[in-house]
């Protein structure tokens, strides 16, 4: 049996979880086994899962589950996995999915493979997983049963399918006091910034050490505004306090896939590229024609960003006016 841990927020199933259900269905079908799911707290979202091929939706009911409670959720998962004899337990490789799966691994003393793109069940289970924020791929053997795995979001698209009964089985997991020490309290929402968010922006004008200073970002802001985009930056920039960390692109920043990425004075370290490799078009401005980023970009201007950007801004204004 393949068991998928399904995350939800405000009555809606999380998209990465639905993708994981689709992947789980493929594994279950190939093995001729049923696909089951665990929903913690909100029984309302269970109904939808039948259409995705889920035979039984286990719903863990407990007072603790009005907010996110990762240890308690893992305890519920451990109970269902052992009761049903699951051979594979999957969750989304999201912050919550990885967290609950790691707790499940700790509670059961089983290994966990996080951020996988391929899972081949067996003994051992074989996985292919992302390292270094996706800059490297690892093949690994995962010993032990059930195989505990999280999947990189967008490994497959979420698609309804299969003929699941979607039967709902409610249960109350046995929780220890310690399981209830870690429970999220909702804080007031962060200030809504007025501009486009980095993650969703179509155009990102990004600066690195070569921009030289916080003030050096003024022309980047001007160009971003002209193109209806937003600002990104490298870690050198956030480390120097020139821009806030919310604008950092990369392995420990935000991962983006804009239509256009303009990299100004950025060398192209693998950890930066990990955040922008899926840009549709990349233009770079750099004084160094040998910079590593040339190997990832579509177009390059060799030159000083402080001189090149004002010229681009002027030409862009002319083009927009004409």
């Amino acid at each position: 049996m393949v068991l998928v841990l399904v995350d939800h927020e405000n009555g809606e199933i999380d998209e990465a979880s639905l993708q994981t259900v689709t992947y789980g269905r493929e594994l279950a079908t190939a093995a001729g086994e049923p696909l089951e799911a665990l929903v913690v707290g909100d029984a309302g979202v269970a109904g939808e899962l039948g259409a995705h091929g889920v035979a039984t939706v286990h719903v863990a009911v407990h007072d603790a589950f009005t907010s996110f409670a990762p240890v308690a959720a893992a305890r519920a998962a451990s109970e269902v996995a052992s009761r049903t004899g699951a051979s594979v337990v999957l969750a989304a490789g999201s912050p919550r999915g990885n967290e609950v799966m790691a707790h499940l691994g700790a509670l059961t003393d089983l290994p966990v493979a996080a951020d996988c793109v391929t899972v081949t069940p067996g003994s051992p289970t074989q996985v292919v997983r992302a390292r270094w924020g996706g800059s490297l791929i690892e093949e690994a053997n995962l010993h032990g049963s059930p195989a505990l795995v999280t999947l990189v979001p967008h490994t497959v698209a979420a698609e309804p399918g299969g003929s699941g009964a979607g039967e709902v089985a409610k249960f109350t997991p046995e929780l220890a006091d310690a399981d209830l020490l870690v429970v999220a309290k909702q804080a007031e929402a962060a200030d809504e910034s007025s501009g486009v968010s980095l993650a969703d922006a179509k155009v990102v004008v990004s600066g690195g050490r070569g921009v030289g200073s916080a003030e050096g970002f003024a022309p980047l802001e001007e160009l971003a505004e002209l193109l209806g985009g937003t600002i990104g930056c490298s870690r050198v920039v956030t480390g120097n306090g020139w821009r806030p960390h919310t604008e950092q692109v990369g392995q420990t920043g935000t991962k983006i896939a804009p239509d256009l990425y303009i990299a100004c004075g950025i060398s192209g370290a693998t950890q930066h590229i990990a955040g922008c490799r899926n840009s549709k078009t990349m233009i770079v401005i750099n004084t160094d024609p040998e910079a590593a980023i040339m190997g990832y970009a579509d177009y390059a201007i060799i030159g000083d960003v402080g001189k090149v950007l004002p010229a681009i801004i002027e030409e862009t204004r002319k083009a927009k006016a004409g």
Binding site: V71, R131, W132, V182, L260, M294, Y299
Partner: protein, 251 residues
């Protein structure tokens, strides 16, 4: 407050990774080494807590003897002592790593009030060593944290989520995993570096358990081979850039 921070020595790749012939490691002969930004902010936070509340900062790593370099770097910004769990250079899997770290913590004479880890390591990115250590020690843990407040024997951890922020409140001692952006780490000073040379490091030598998550091969993912088309040198290239803007429809 006695704080322990766990850091991991990793190669700094620059523009691309090269894999060793046996397919199991990154070719690192010509590379420098570093730790994850998540762990840099962890040490900075620990030093700030000790400066404010008093107490000590210990840095622990499981790695080759050369990982002393990473401990000394963090001592230069203010950590007081180090624990180096020595390996022969082979990677340990997350369970083996967490067991060895928990054993070292249990055996230590200091009762750490707070243990800070990275949310995920730079290289293996397993998202689990912190959580496994917390379970072994029987302590609560919050993950993915970008704000720490300590008051009255309690910790409040702030975690950014899609919908805004979540708060986790728990009694100390506790464990927390943190994210880059928690603070801006300071640069080591020259006197800091000199002091670091004299600070104590304790070395442990447990045996590597058989990995249950067993790496069998590393590979650089295939990418569309690209080489940027040079549009020109200096400001004269501006019209060609604007042509591209038009072609791809951003103006």
């Amino acid at each position: 407050m006695d704080v322990l921070v766990c850091i991991k020595r990793v190669p700094l790749s620059g523009g691309k990774f090269t894999i060793t012939e046996d397919g199991l490691d990154i070719e690192s002969a010509k590379l420098g080494f570093t730790i994850s930004p998540h762990e840099e902010v962890a040490v900075e936070e620990a030093v700030r807590i000790a400066e404010k509340e008093g107490g000590s900062v210990t840095v622990l790593t499981l790695g080759p003897p050369d990982a002393e370099e990473q401990i000394r770097e963090q001592m230069a910004i203010g950590a007081d002592r180090g624990i180096l769990i020595e390996t022969d250079g082979q990677e340990w899997d997350p369970q083996g790593t967490a067991s060895a770290i928990a054993d070292a913590i249990n055996a230590d004479e200091t009762d750490f009030d707070l243990i800070i880890m990275g949310n995920e390591s730079a290289d293996a990115s397993g998202y689990q060593v912190g959580i496994r250590v917390a379970h072994k020690l029987g302590r609560p843990i919050a993950t993915g944290v970008k704000g720490i407040t300590i008051a009255d024997g309690k910790a409040t951890f702030e975690r950014p989520v899609k919908t805004g922020r979540e708060l986790y409140e728990m009694p100390l001692p506790a464990v927390v995993t943190v994210l880059d952006g928690l603070n801006i780490p300071r640069y080591p000073s020259v006197p800091g570096r000199i002091r670091a040379k004299k600070k104590p490091i304790e070395r442990l030598n447990p045996e590597r358990p058989q990995p249950k998550l067993e790496k069998t091969r590393l590979e650089v993912p295939a990418m569309k081979a690209k080489q940027a088309q040079v549009l020109g040198n200096g400001p004269d290239a501006a019209p060609a850039v604007v042509e591209i803007f038009k072609q791809i429809g951003v103006i």
